[in-house]
Amino acid sequence: MQKNPYLPLPVKLVKNFTETEDKLIHTFTFQYLSQEDEKSFPYMPGQFAELCVFGKGEAPFGIASSPTEPGFLKFSVAKVGVVSTALHLMEEGTICGVRGPLGNYYPVDQLKGKNVVIIGGGFAFTTLRSLITYMLEPKHRGDFGKITCIYGARNPGLLLYKEELDDWDKRDDINLVCTIDRPVDGWNKRVGFVPAVTKEVAPSSENSVAIICGPPVMIKFTMPELEALGFRPEQIIMSLENRMKCGIGMCGRCNVGNKYVCKDGPVFTKAELNLLPNEY
Protein backbone atom coordinates (compact mmCIF):
# COMPACT_ATOMS: atom_id res chain seq x y z
CA MET A 1 0.00 0.00 0.00
CA GLN A 2 1.24 3.49 -0.80
CA LYS A 3 2.09 5.93 1.96
CA ASN A 4 -0.70 7.04 4.22
CA PRO A 5 -2.24 10.07 2.46
CA TYR A 6 -3.46 11.50 5.77
CA LEU A 7 -0.01 11.87 7.34
CA PRO A 8 1.53 15.32 7.01
CA LEU A 9 5.18 16.00 6.25
CA PRO A 10 6.73 18.13 8.99
CA VAL A 11 8.13 21.47 7.79
CA LYS A 12 9.55 24.46 9.63
CA LEU A 13 8.12 27.97 9.38
CA VAL A 14 10.99 30.28 8.49
CA LYS A 15 9.10 33.43 7.54
CA ASN A 16 5.75 34.86 8.62
CA PHE A 17 5.36 37.90 6.34
CA THR A 18 2.48 40.36 6.45
CA GLU A 19 1.64 40.50 2.79
CA THR A 20 -1.13 43.08 2.65
CA GLU A 21 -1.55 46.49 4.17
CA ASP A 22 -4.72 45.45 5.99
CA LYS A 23 -2.69 42.64 7.59
CA LEU A 24 -5.36 40.11 6.69
CA ILE A 25 -3.11 38.12 4.40
CA HIS A 26 0.25 36.72 5.46
CA THR A 27 2.69 34.77 3.34
CA PHE A 28 4.33 31.82 5.03
CA THR A 29 7.61 30.33 3.93
CA PHE A 30 8.30 26.77 5.09
CA GLN A 31 11.57 24.92 4.90
CA TYR A 32 11.77 21.16 4.51
CA LEU A 33 13.48 19.36 7.36
CA SER A 34 15.60 17.25 5.02
CA GLN A 35 16.47 16.77 1.37
CA GLU A 36 14.61 13.49 1.48
CA ASP A 37 11.49 15.29 2.62
CA GLU A 38 11.79 17.73 -0.26
CA LYS A 39 12.10 14.87 -2.74
CA SER A 40 8.93 13.34 -1.34
CA PHE A 41 6.98 16.48 -2.24
CA PRO A 42 7.31 16.97 -6.01
CA TYR A 43 4.76 19.58 -7.03
CA MET A 44 3.71 21.65 -10.05
CA PRO A 45 2.16 25.11 -10.30
CA GLY A 46 -1.57 24.98 -9.56
CA GLN A 47 -1.44 22.29 -6.92
CA PHE A 48 -2.40 22.81 -3.32
CA ALA A 49 -1.51 21.28 0.02
CA GLU A 50 -3.31 20.73 3.28
CA LEU A 51 -1.35 22.90 5.68
CA CYS A 52 -1.43 21.45 9.17
CA VAL A 53 -1.07 23.36 12.41
CA PHE A 54 -0.52 20.71 15.04
CA GLY A 55 -3.08 21.18 17.77
CA LYS A 56 -5.45 23.23 15.63
CA GLY A 57 -6.15 21.39 12.42
CA GLU A 58 -5.58 21.45 8.70
CA ALA A 59 -6.72 23.69 5.88
CA PRO A 60 -6.13 23.66 2.11
CA PHE A 61 -4.03 26.40 0.49
CA GLY A 62 -2.72 26.87 -3.02
CA ILE A 63 1.04 26.59 -3.27
CA ALA A 64 2.47 30.01 -4.13
CA SER A 65 6.08 28.94 -4.57
CA SER A 66 7.28 27.32 -7.78
CA PRO A 67 9.11 23.99 -8.06
CA THR A 68 11.86 26.07 -9.70
CA GLU A 69 12.49 27.61 -6.26
CA PRO A 70 14.01 24.68 -4.39
CA GLY A 71 14.22 24.30 -0.64
CA PHE A 72 11.03 25.92 0.47
CA LEU A 73 7.26 26.14 0.12
CA LYS A 74 5.28 29.36 0.17
CA PHE A 75 1.61 29.81 1.00
CA SER A 76 -0.47 32.96 1.30
CA VAL A 77 -3.23 32.71 3.86
CA ALA A 78 -6.16 34.96 4.73
CA LYS A 79 -7.18 35.06 8.37
CA VAL A 80 -10.67 33.57 8.44
CA GLY A 81 -10.79 30.74 10.94
CA VAL A 82 -9.05 28.56 13.47
CA VAL A 83 -6.12 27.30 11.38
CA SER A 84 -5.48 30.54 9.52
CA THR A 85 -5.56 32.56 12.75
CA ALA A 86 -3.10 30.16 14.38
CA LEU A 87 -0.82 30.58 11.36
CA HIS A 88 -1.02 34.34 11.47
CA LEU A 89 0.05 34.32 15.11
CA MET A 90 2.73 31.70 14.59
CA GLU A 91 6.34 32.29 15.55
CA GLU A 92 9.04 31.59 13.02
CA GLY A 93 10.72 28.31 13.87
CA THR A 94 7.49 26.48 14.62
CA ILE A 95 7.03 23.05 13.09
CA CYS A 96 3.93 22.63 10.95
CA GLY A 97 2.90 19.94 8.51
CA VAL A 98 2.06 19.81 4.83
CA ARG A 99 0.01 17.11 3.20
CA GLY A 100 0.28 16.77 -0.53
CA PRO A 101 0.94 17.89 -3.17
CA LEU A 102 -2.75 17.57 -3.95
CA GLY A 103 -4.90 18.16 -6.96
CA ASN A 104 -3.98 18.57 -10.59
CA TYR A 105 -1.88 21.41 -11.98
CA TYR A 106 -1.86 24.06 -14.69
CA PRO A 107 -1.33 22.11 -17.92
CA VAL A 108 2.11 23.61 -18.66
CA ASP A 109 2.78 20.95 -21.29
CA GLN A 110 -0.28 22.02 -23.23
CA LEU A 111 0.72 25.68 -22.87
CA LYS A 112 3.99 25.09 -24.72
CA GLY A 113 4.24 27.08 -27.91
CA LYS A 114 1.27 29.21 -26.94
CA ASN A 115 0.76 32.73 -25.71
CA VAL A 116 -0.38 32.76 -22.13
CA VAL A 117 -2.74 35.35 -20.70
CA ILE A 118 -2.93 35.26 -16.91
CA ILE A 119 -5.72 37.14 -15.17
CA GLY A 120 -5.79 37.30 -11.41
CA GLY A 121 -7.84 39.13 -8.81
CA GLY A 122 -6.93 39.97 -5.25
CA PHE A 123 -6.08 37.10 -3.02
CA ALA A 124 -6.52 34.44 -5.70
CA PHE A 125 -3.12 35.24 -7.16
CA THR A 126 -1.26 32.63 -5.08
CA THR A 127 -0.97 29.75 -7.53
CA LEU A 128 -0.55 32.23 -10.38
CA ARG A 129 2.68 33.37 -8.72
CA SER A 130 3.80 29.76 -8.87
CA LEU A 131 2.89 29.49 -12.53
CA ILE A 132 4.53 32.77 -13.61
CA THR A 133 7.71 32.02 -11.67
CA TYR A 134 7.82 28.60 -13.30
CA MET A 135 7.32 29.97 -16.82
CA LEU A 136 9.83 32.80 -16.42
CA GLU A 137 12.54 30.40 -15.29
CA PRO A 138 15.23 30.57 -18.01
CA LYS A 139 15.05 26.86 -18.85
CA HIS A 140 11.25 27.11 -19.35
CA ARG A 141 10.75 30.60 -20.79
CA GLY A 142 11.51 29.53 -24.32
CA ASP A 143 8.66 27.01 -24.22
CA PHE A 144 6.04 29.71 -24.15
CA GLY A 145 5.07 32.60 -26.42
CA LYS A 146 3.97 35.98 -25.15
CA ILE A 147 3.09 36.11 -21.48
CA THR A 148 0.56 38.73 -20.42
CA CYS A 149 -0.49 39.14 -16.82
CA ILE A 150 -3.39 41.29 -15.66
CA TYR A 151 -3.55 41.48 -11.89
CA GLY A 152 -6.06 43.62 -10.06
CA ALA A 153 -6.68 44.41 -6.41
CA ARG A 154 -8.93 46.85 -4.58
CA ASN A 155 -5.96 49.08 -3.69
CA PRO A 156 -2.14 48.97 -3.93
CA GLY A 157 -1.80 47.72 -0.36
CA LEU A 158 -3.77 44.60 -1.18
CA LEU A 159 -1.59 43.47 -4.08
CA LEU A 160 0.29 40.30 -3.21
CA TYR A 161 3.97 39.64 -3.89
CA LYS A 162 4.93 43.28 -4.43
CA GLU A 163 8.62 42.38 -4.77
CA GLU A 164 7.90 39.88 -7.52
CA LEU A 165 5.56 42.33 -9.24
CA ASP A 166 8.34 44.97 -9.26
CA ASP A 167 10.73 42.42 -10.78
CA TRP A 168 8.29 41.32 -13.45
CA ASP A 169 7.44 44.91 -14.28
CA LYS A 170 11.05 45.54 -15.22
CA ARG A 171 11.30 42.45 -17.42
CA ASP A 172 10.55 42.51 -21.10
CA ASP A 173 9.62 38.83 -21.39
CA ILE A 174 6.34 39.38 -19.54
CA ASN A 175 3.77 42.11 -20.02
CA LEU A 176 2.57 42.85 -16.49
CA VAL A 177 -0.50 45.04 -16.13
CA CYS A 178 -1.36 45.81 -12.52
CA THR A 179 -4.52 47.66 -11.77
CA ILE A 180 -6.44 48.93 -8.79
CA ASP A 181 -10.15 49.67 -8.47
CA ARG A 182 -10.04 53.37 -7.74
CA PRO A 183 -7.36 56.09 -7.99
CA VAL A 184 -5.06 56.29 -4.98
CA ASP A 185 -2.35 58.85 -4.22
CA GLY A 186 1.04 57.55 -5.16
CA TRP A 187 -0.25 55.01 -7.68
CA ASN A 188 0.69 56.07 -11.18
CA LYS A 189 -0.15 52.84 -12.95
CA ARG A 190 -3.47 51.66 -14.34
CA VAL A 191 -6.79 52.16 -12.61
CA GLY A 192 -9.88 50.10 -13.42
CA PHE A 193 -11.64 46.81 -12.70
CA VAL A 194 -10.10 43.68 -14.10
CA PRO A 195 -12.85 43.05 -16.68
CA ALA A 196 -12.49 46.57 -18.10
CA VAL A 197 -8.69 46.33 -18.12
CA THR A 198 -8.91 42.98 -19.88
CA LYS A 199 -10.97 44.65 -22.57
CA GLU A 200 -8.47 47.50 -22.87
CA VAL A 201 -5.39 45.30 -23.01
CA ALA A 202 -7.26 43.10 -25.47
CA PRO A 203 -4.87 40.14 -25.54
CA SER A 204 -5.21 38.20 -28.75
CA SER A 205 -6.91 34.85 -28.55
CA GLU A 206 -4.89 33.54 -31.48
CA ASN A 207 -2.83 30.55 -30.32
CA SER A 208 -3.47 31.68 -26.77
CA VAL A 209 -4.64 30.22 -23.52
CA ALA A 210 -6.17 32.33 -20.75
CA ILE A 211 -5.79 31.36 -17.13
CA ILE A 212 -8.15 33.12 -14.78
CA CYS A 213 -8.20 33.02 -11.00
CA GLY A 214 -10.19 35.31 -8.79
CA PRO A 215 -13.27 36.05 -6.77
CA PRO A 216 -16.60 34.92 -8.31
CA VAL A 217 -17.68 38.47 -9.20
CA MET A 218 -14.44 39.15 -11.10
CA ILE A 219 -14.76 35.92 -13.03
CA LYS A 220 -18.40 36.60 -13.79
CA PHE A 221 -17.59 39.87 -15.56
CA THR A 222 -14.21 38.97 -17.04
CA MET A 223 -15.40 35.81 -18.75
CA PRO A 224 -17.58 37.67 -21.29
CA GLU A 225 -14.61 39.92 -22.15
CA LEU A 226 -12.47 36.89 -22.88
CA GLU A 227 -15.22 35.35 -24.94
CA ALA A 228 -15.59 38.62 -26.87
CA LEU A 229 -11.87 38.47 -27.65
CA GLY A 230 -12.42 35.07 -29.21
CA PHE A 231 -11.27 32.75 -26.44
CA ARG A 232 -13.13 29.46 -26.74
CA PRO A 233 -14.04 27.44 -23.61
CA GLU A 234 -11.16 25.00 -24.29
CA GLN A 235 -8.79 27.98 -24.23
CA ILE A 236 -9.89 29.26 -20.82
CA ILE A 237 -8.47 27.65 -17.69
CA MET A 238 -9.74 28.24 -14.16
CA SER A 239 -8.71 27.16 -10.72
CA LEU A 240 -11.69 26.50 -8.46
CA GLU A 241 -11.99 26.95 -4.77
CA ASN A 242 -14.19 24.84 -2.57
CA ARG A 243 -14.37 23.76 1.02
CA MET A 244 -12.00 20.80 1.23
CA LYS A 245 -10.96 18.45 3.98
CA CYS A 246 -9.35 15.20 2.93
CA GLY A 247 -7.94 16.53 -0.34
CA ILE A 248 -8.05 13.02 -1.80
CA GLY A 249 -11.61 12.68 -3.04
CA MET A 250 -13.08 10.66 -0.16
CA CYS A 251 -14.75 12.94 2.36
CA GLY A 252 -17.39 13.93 -0.16
CA ARG A 253 -17.39 17.62 0.55
CA CYS A 254 -15.86 19.44 -2.41
CA ASN A 255 -17.69 17.94 -5.36
CA VAL A 256 -19.00 19.99 -8.24
CA GLY A 257 -21.28 17.56 -9.99
CA ASN A 258 -19.49 14.27 -10.38
CA LYS A 259 -16.00 15.74 -10.00
CA TYR A 260 -14.10 16.39 -6.81
CA VAL A 261 -12.33 19.76 -6.86
CA CYS A 262 -9.54 18.33 -4.71
CA LYS A 263 -8.77 15.26 -6.79
CA ASP A 264 -10.09 15.97 -10.30
CA GLY A 265 -9.25 19.70 -10.04
CA PRO A 266 -8.76 22.37 -8.85
CA VAL A 267 -7.67 23.26 -12.37
CA PHE A 268 -10.44 22.89 -14.96
CA THR A 269 -10.99 24.29 -18.43
CA LYS A 270 -14.14 26.31 -19.01
CA ALA A 271 -15.20 23.56 -21.41
CA GLU A 272 -14.98 21.00 -18.60
CA LEU A 273 -16.83 23.31 -16.21
CA ASN A 274 -19.61 23.86 -18.71
CA LEU A 275 -20.41 20.16 -18.35
CA LEU A 276 -20.71 20.48 -14.58
CA PRO A 277 -23.54 22.07 -12.59
CA ASN A 278 -23.04 25.66 -11.56
CA GLU A 279 -22.64 24.87 -7.86
CA TYR A 280 -19.35 26.41 -6.86
Binding site: M1, Q2, N4, P5, Y6, L7, P8, P10, L33, C52, F54, G55, K56, G57, E58, A59, A78, V80, G81, S84, G93, I95, G97, P216, E241, N242, R243, K245, C246, I248, G249, M250, C251, G252, R253, C254, N255, V256, G257, N258, K263, P277, E279, Y280
Partner: protein
Protein backbone atom coordinates in the same frame (compact mmCIF):
# COMPACT_ATOMS: atom_id res chain seq x y z
CA UNK B 1 -22.70 -27.00 4.35
CA UNK B 2 -25.00 -26.70 7.32
CA UNK B 3 -25.10 -25.16 10.80
CA UNK B 4 -27.86 -26.35 13.11
CA UNK B 5 -29.40 -23.42 14.97
CA UNK B 6 -28.63 -24.97 18.33
CA UNK B 7 -24.98 -25.26 17.34
CA UNK B 8 -24.66 -21.62 16.39
CA UNK B 9 -23.92 -20.07 19.83
CA UNK B 10 -21.08 -22.56 20.37
CA UNK B 11 -19.71 -21.81 16.91
CA UNK B 12 -19.84 -18.09 17.59
CA UNK B 13 -18.00 -18.62 20.89
CA UNK B 14 -15.14 -20.21 18.96
CA UNK B 15 -15.12 -17.42 16.38
CA UNK B 16 -15.12 -14.79 19.13
CA UNK B 17 -11.93 -16.31 20.47
CA UNK B 18 -10.14 -15.81 17.19
CA UNK B 19 -11.71 -12.69 15.66
CA UNK B 20 -13.21 -9.44 16.80
CA UNK B 21 -16.69 -10.80 16.24
CA UNK B 22 -19.60 -8.52 15.34
CA UNK B 23 -23.18 -9.74 15.27
CA UNK B 24 -26.66 -8.26 15.65
CA UNK B 25 -27.52 -7.61 19.28
CA UNK B 26 -30.94 -6.63 20.57
CA UNK B 27 -31.01 -3.05 21.84
CA UNK B 28 -34.50 -2.24 23.08
CA UNK B 29 -36.82 -2.47 20.10
CA UNK B 30 -34.12 -2.64 17.50
CA UNK B 31 -30.89 -4.43 16.62
CA UNK B 32 -27.38 -3.04 16.39
CA UNK B 33 -24.18 -4.70 15.22
CA UNK B 34 -21.93 -4.86 18.23
CA UNK B 35 -18.79 -6.73 19.13
CA UNK B 36 -19.74 -9.88 21.07
CA UNK B 37 -17.61 -12.08 23.28
CA UNK B 38 -20.03 -15.02 23.40
CA UNK B 39 -22.53 -16.49 20.99
CA UNK B 40 -25.37 -16.07 23.46
CA UNK B 41 -25.29 -12.28 22.97
CA UNK B 42 -26.26 -12.50 19.31
CA UNK B 43 -29.86 -12.36 18.21
CA UNK B 44 -30.84 -13.20 14.65
CA UNK B 45 -34.55 -12.43 15.01
CA UNK B 46 -34.26 -9.13 13.20
CA UNK B 47 -35.06 -7.50 9.88
CA UNK B 48 -31.99 -5.29 9.81
CA UNK B 49 -29.98 -3.23 12.25
CA UNK B 50 -30.98 0.33 13.11
CA UNK B 51 -27.72 1.66 11.72
CA UNK B 52 -25.64 -0.32 9.24
CA UNK B 53 -22.56 -2.34 10.22
CA UNK B 54 -20.32 -0.21 7.99
CA UNK B 55 -19.09 1.27 11.30
CA UNK B 56 -16.96 -1.84 11.72
CA UNK B 57 -14.81 -0.70 8.78
CA UNK B 58 -15.49 3.01 8.91
CA UNK B 59 -16.23 4.02 12.52
CA UNK B 60 -18.20 7.18 13.26
CA UNK B 61 -15.12 8.51 14.97
CA UNK B 62 -11.57 7.28 14.65
CA UNK B 63 -8.09 8.51 15.47
CA UNK B 64 -6.02 8.77 12.31
CA UNK B 65 -2.78 9.49 14.09
CA UNK B 66 -1.52 11.09 17.25
CA UNK B 67 1.33 13.58 17.47
CA UNK B 68 3.71 15.27 19.83
CA UNK B 69 5.58 18.39 18.74
CA UNK B 70 8.82 19.60 20.22
CA UNK B 71 11.34 22.20 19.02
CA UNK B 72 13.13 19.65 16.87
CA UNK B 73 10.24 18.14 15.08
CA UNK B 74 7.09 16.15 15.38
CA UNK B 75 6.59 12.56 16.41
CA UNK B 76 3.58 11.02 14.74
CA UNK B 77 2.01 7.65 15.41
CA UNK B 78 -0.45 6.16 12.93
CA UNK B 79 -3.41 4.25 14.31
CA UNK B 80 -4.18 1.70 11.65
CA UNK B 81 -6.34 -1.18 12.85
CA UNK B 82 -5.22 -4.45 11.35
CA UNK B 83 -6.93 -6.75 13.83
CA UNK B 84 -8.87 -9.65 12.32
CA UNK B 85 -12.61 -9.11 12.33
CA UNK B 86 -15.67 -11.08 11.40
CA UNK B 87 -19.15 -9.69 10.86
CA UNK B 88 -21.66 -12.49 11.33
CA UNK B 89 -25.20 -12.03 10.08
CA UNK B 90 -24.68 -9.04 7.80
CA UNK B 91 -27.54 -8.64 5.32
CA UNK B 92 -26.73 -8.78 1.58
CA UNK B 93 -27.63 -5.11 1.11
CA UNK B 94 -25.09 -4.02 3.72
CA UNK B 95 -22.42 -6.30 2.24
CA UNK B 96 -23.10 -4.80 -1.19
CA UNK B 97 -22.70 -1.34 0.30
CA UNK B 98 -19.13 -2.19 1.29
CA UNK B 99 -18.36 -3.21 -2.28
CA UNK B 100 -19.64 0.22 -3.32
CA UNK B 101 -17.63 2.01 -0.62
CA UNK B 102 -14.48 0.23 -1.85
CA UNK B 103 -14.68 2.54 -4.88
CA UNK B 104 -14.51 5.57 -2.62
CA UNK B 105 -11.74 4.52 -0.30
CA UNK B 106 -9.59 3.04 -3.05
CA UNK B 107 -10.10 5.57 -5.83
CA UNK B 108 -8.17 6.21 -9.03
CA UNK B 109 -5.49 8.20 -7.22
CA UNK B 110 -5.42 7.35 -3.52
CA UNK B 111 -5.97 4.54 -1.05
CA UNK B 112 -7.36 5.06 2.43
CA UNK B 113 -5.25 2.76 4.63
CA UNK B 114 -7.69 2.90 7.55
CA UNK B 115 -10.75 1.57 5.75
CA UNK B 116 -8.82 -0.70 3.36
CA UNK B 117 -6.75 -2.37 6.09
CA UNK B 118 -9.88 -3.17 8.05
CA UNK B 119 -11.61 -4.29 4.86
CA UNK B 120 -8.86 -6.72 3.99
CA UNK B 121 -8.87 -8.15 7.49
CA UNK B 122 -12.64 -8.54 7.87
CA UNK B 123 -14.65 -11.60 6.93
CA UNK B 124 -18.31 -11.13 6.06
CA UNK B 125 -20.74 -13.93 6.84
CA UNK B 126 -24.06 -12.93 5.34
CA UNK B 127 -27.57 -13.81 6.43
CA UNK B 128 -30.01 -13.91 3.55
CA UNK B 129 -33.43 -12.37 4.00
CA UNK B 130 -36.27 -14.90 4.01
CA UNK B 131 -38.73 -12.12 4.86
CA UNK B 132 -37.64 -8.78 3.44
CA UNK B 133 -39.30 -5.80 5.11
CA UNK B 134 -41.92 -3.70 3.35
CA UNK B 135 -39.44 -0.83 3.18
CA UNK B 136 -36.75 -2.89 1.44
CA UNK B 137 -36.22 -2.24 -2.26
CA UNK B 138 -32.87 -3.93 -2.80
CA UNK B 139 -33.97 -5.68 -5.98
CA UNK B 140 -34.69 -2.33 -7.62
CA UNK B 141 -31.11 -1.13 -7.11
CA UNK B 142 -29.02 -4.10 -8.12
CA UNK B 143 -29.08 -6.23 -4.98
CA UNK B 144 -31.42 -8.84 -3.57
CA UNK B 145 -32.34 -10.83 -0.47
CA UNK B 146 -29.78 -13.51 -1.32
CA UNK B 147 -27.29 -11.42 -3.27
CA UNK B 148 -23.77 -12.63 -2.57
CA UNK B 149 -21.82 -9.48 -3.56
CA UNK B 150 -19.08 -8.77 -1.06
CA UNK B 151 -19.80 -11.82 1.08
CA UNK B 152 -17.41 -14.60 2.07
CA UNK B 153 -20.19 -16.96 3.22
CA UNK B 154 -23.95 -16.73 2.71
CA UNK B 155 -26.36 -18.29 5.19
CA UNK B 156 -29.94 -19.25 4.41
CA UNK B 157 -32.35 -19.86 7.28
CA UNK B 158 -34.13 -23.19 6.68
CA UNK B 159 -36.11 -23.13 9.94
CA UNK B 160 -33.98 -25.21 12.28
CA UNK B 161 -30.66 -24.67 10.59
CA UNK B 162 -28.67 -22.40 8.30
CA UNK B 163 -27.47 -23.60 4.90
CA UNK B 164 -23.98 -22.25 4.31
CA UNK B 165 -22.67 -21.39 0.85
CA UNK B 166 -19.05 -20.43 0.35
CA UNK B 167 -18.81 -17.39 -1.91
CA UNK B 168 -15.14 -16.43 -1.80
CA UNK B 169 -11.85 -18.24 -1.30
CA UNK B 170 -11.61 -16.72 2.18
CA UNK B 171 -15.13 -18.02 2.81
CA UNK B 172 -14.14 -21.55 1.78
CA UNK B 173 -11.19 -21.42 4.14
CA UNK B 174 -13.38 -20.09 6.95
CA UNK B 175 -15.95 -22.86 6.46
CA UNK B 176 -13.20 -25.46 6.53
CA UNK B 177 -11.76 -23.87 9.65
CA UNK B 178 -15.20 -23.99 11.33
CA UNK B 179 -15.42 -27.69 10.46
CA UNK B 180 -18.89 -27.43 8.97
CA UNK B 181 -20.77 -30.58 8.06
CA UNK B 182 -22.15 -31.17 4.63
CA UNK B 183 -25.82 -30.35 4.16
CA UNK B 184 -28.38 -33.10 3.56
CA UNK B 185 -30.50 -33.04 0.42
CA UNK B 186 -33.67 -32.08 2.26
CA UNK B 187 -31.83 -29.22 3.96
CA UNK B 188 -30.61 -27.96 0.57
CA UNK B 189 -34.18 -28.21 -0.70
CA UNK B 190 -35.52 -26.26 2.27
CA UNK B 191 -32.96 -23.51 1.63
CA UNK B 192 -33.81 -23.35 -2.06
CA UNK B 193 -37.49 -23.09 -1.13
CA UNK B 194 -36.79 -20.25 1.31
CA UNK B 195 -34.77 -18.36 -1.28
CA UNK B 196 -37.50 -18.87 -3.84
CA UNK B 197 -40.19 -17.65 -1.48
CA UNK B 198 -38.37 -14.48 -0.43
CA UNK B 199 -40.27 -11.57 -1.87
CA UNK B 200 -39.20 -7.95 -2.09
CA UNK B 201 -42.61 -6.40 -2.61
CA UNK B 202 -41.52 -2.80 -2.78
CA UNK B 203 -40.41 -1.82 -6.28
CA UNK B 204 -38.84 1.49 -7.15
CA UNK B 205 -38.58 2.28 -10.83
CA UNK B 206 -35.07 3.59 -11.47
CA UNK B 207 -35.03 2.95 -15.19
CA UNK B 208 -34.04 6.16 -16.93
CA UNK B 209 -33.58 7.90 -13.58
CA UNK B 210 -29.98 8.81 -14.30
CA UNK B 211 -30.88 10.25 -17.68
CA UNK B 212 -33.45 12.47 -16.00
CA UNK B 213 -30.94 13.55 -13.37
CA UNK B 214 -28.45 14.34 -16.14
CA UNK B 215 -30.90 16.92 -17.38
CA UNK B 216 -32.91 18.31 -14.44
CA UNK B 217 -30.33 20.05 -12.22
CA UNK B 218 -31.87 23.49 -12.75
CA UNK B 219 -35.51 22.35 -12.79
CA UNK B 220 -38.19 23.67 -10.45
CA UNK B 221 -38.86 20.12 -9.25
CA UNK B 222 -36.14 20.60 -6.62
CA UNK B 223 -38.05 23.48 -4.99
CA UNK B 224 -40.49 21.15 -3.25
CA UNK B 225 -38.58 18.06 -2.10
CA UNK B 226 -36.63 19.63 0.71
CA UNK B 227 -39.39 21.69 2.32
CA UNK B 228 -40.20 19.37 5.18
CA UNK B 229 -36.62 18.15 5.58
CA UNK B 230 -35.20 19.09 8.97
CA UNK B 231 -31.63 19.11 7.72
CA UNK B 232 -30.52 16.62 10.36
CA UNK B 233 -28.27 13.64 9.68
CA UNK B 234 -30.70 10.84 10.51
CA UNK B 235 -30.76 9.61 6.90
CA UNK B 236 -27.04 10.00 6.22
CA UNK B 237 -25.94 8.36 9.45
CA UNK B 238 -28.31 5.44 8.80
CA UNK B 239 -27.14 4.97 5.23
CA UNK B 240 -24.80 2.08 4.41
CA UNK B 241 -23.30 3.86 1.41
CA UNK B 242 -22.79 7.32 2.89
CA UNK B 243 -19.11 8.13 3.41
CA UNK B 244 -18.77 11.84 4.07
CA UNK B 245 -16.45 12.77 6.91
CA UNK B 246 -14.69 15.67 8.59
CA UNK B 247 -11.13 15.80 9.91
CA UNK B 248 -10.39 17.71 13.11
CA UNK B 249 -7.65 17.93 15.67
CA UNK B 250 -8.33 17.05 19.28
CA UNK B 251 -5.39 18.32 21.24
CA UNK B 252 -4.05 20.10 24.26
CA UNK B 253 -1.44 22.53 22.90
CA UNK B 254 0.72 20.47 20.54
CA UNK B 255 -0.06 17.05 21.92
CA UNK B 256 -3.02 15.43 20.45
CA UNK B 257 -4.44 13.55 17.57
CA UNK B 258 -6.07 14.01 14.23
CA UNK B 259 -9.53 12.53 14.26
CA UNK B 260 -11.95 11.63 11.50
CA UNK B 261 -15.70 11.93 12.25
CA UNK B 262 -18.73 11.26 10.09
CA UNK B 263 -20.21 14.39 8.59
CA UNK B 264 -23.37 14.99 6.59
CA UNK B 265 -24.04 16.82 3.34
CA UNK B 266 -27.40 17.76 4.87
CA UNK B 267 -25.72 20.13 7.35
CA UNK B 268 -25.51 23.78 6.17
CA UNK B 269 -21.89 24.13 7.26
CA UNK B 270 -20.76 21.17 5.18
CA UNK B 271 -19.78 23.29 2.19
CA UNK B 272 -19.25 26.68 3.84
CA UNK B 273 -16.05 28.37 2.58
CA UNK B 274 -13.73 30.29 4.88
CA UNK B 275 -14.67 33.38 2.88
CA UNK B 276 -18.29 32.97 3.93
CA UNK B 277 -19.45 31.81 0.49
CA UNK B 278 -21.61 28.69 0.50
CA UNK B 279 -22.39 27.02 -2.84
CA UNK B 280 -25.28 25.16 -1.19
CA UNK B 281 -27.07 27.85 0.73
CA UNK B 282 -30.38 26.13 1.37
CA UNK B 283 -31.99 22.76 1.91
CA UNK B 284 -32.93 22.73 -1.76
CA UNK B 285 -29.30 22.51 -2.94
CA UNK B 286 -28.42 20.02 -0.24
CA UNK B 287 -31.32 17.70 -1.00
CA UNK B 288 -30.48 17.89 -4.69
CA UNK B 289 -26.85 17.03 -3.88
CA UNK B 290 -27.92 13.98 -1.87
CA UNK B 291 -30.15 12.61 -4.60
CA UNK B 292 -27.71 13.49 -7.38
CA UNK B 293 -24.78 11.92 -5.57
CA UNK B 294 -26.59 8.66 -4.90
CA UNK B 295 -28.30 8.23 -8.26
CA UNK B 296 -26.18 10.13 -10.76
CA UNK B 297 -22.65 11.16 -9.70
CA UNK B 298 -21.81 7.75 -8.23
CA UNK B 299 -23.17 6.16 -11.40
CA UNK B 300 -21.06 8.55 -13.53
CA UNK B 301 -17.93 7.62 -11.65
CA UNK B 302 -18.46 3.97 -10.72
CA UNK B 303 -21.35 2.70 -12.87
CA UNK B 304 -23.43 1.86 -9.81
CA UNK B 305 -26.05 3.62 -7.72
CA UNK B 306 -24.92 4.48 -4.22
CA UNK B 307 -28.07 2.94 -2.76
CA UNK B 308 -28.71 -0.64 -1.72
CA UNK B 309 -32.41 -0.29 -0.93
CA UNK B 310 -32.10 -1.05 2.78
CA UNK B 311 -34.90 1.40 3.65
CA UNK B 312 -33.26 2.78 6.79
CA UNK B 313 -33.51 6.40 5.67
CA UNK B 314 -37.22 5.89 5.15
CA UNK B 315 -37.79 4.39 8.59
CA UNK B 316 -35.51 6.74 10.52
CA UNK B 317 -36.59 10.06 9.03
CA UNK B 318 -38.39 12.13 11.69
CA UNK B 319 -40.68 13.71 9.08
CA UNK B 320 -41.24 10.64 6.89
CA UNK B 321 -39.40 12.07 3.92
CA UNK B 322 -39.27 9.09 1.58
CA UNK B 323 -36.60 8.67 -1.10
CA UNK B 324 -38.96 6.37 -3.02
CA UNK B 325 -41.41 9.25 -3.40
CA UNK B 326 -38.69 11.62 -4.55
CA UNK B 327 -37.58 9.11 -7.18
CA UNK B 328 -41.16 8.54 -8.30
CA UNK B 329 -41.67 12.30 -8.65
CA UNK B 330 -38.49 12.71 -10.68
CA UNK B 331 -39.60 9.82 -12.88
CA UNK B 332 -42.87 11.69 -13.41
CA UNK B 333 -44.85 8.96 -11.74
CA UNK B 334 -46.46 11.10 -9.02
CA UNK B 335 -47.45 9.58 -5.71
CA UNK B 336 -49.96 6.83 -6.30
CA UNK B 337 -51.26 6.61 -2.74
CA UNK B 338 -51.97 10.31 -2.38
Amino acid sequence: MIIAKNELPGLLDKLAAEYELFAPVKEGNYALFKQIKSGAEACFEYLNSKVPPKGVLFPQSEKLFSYQTTGEGTKMEEHIDSRKKLVFGIRPCDAKSLVLLDNVFNNDKYTDPYYMTRRENTLLVGMGCNDPASTCFCTSVGSGPFDSAGLDLLLTDTGDAYLVEAISEKGKALAAQMGLKAAAEDQKAAAAKAQEAARVNCRVNVEGLKARLDANFYDAIWERFHEKCLGCAACTYSCPTCHCFDIVDEAVDCDGCRVRNWDSCMFPLFTLHGSGHNPRTSGKERMRQRVMHKFKYFVDNFSAMACVGCGRCIKNCPVNLDIREIIADIQGEGRSDK
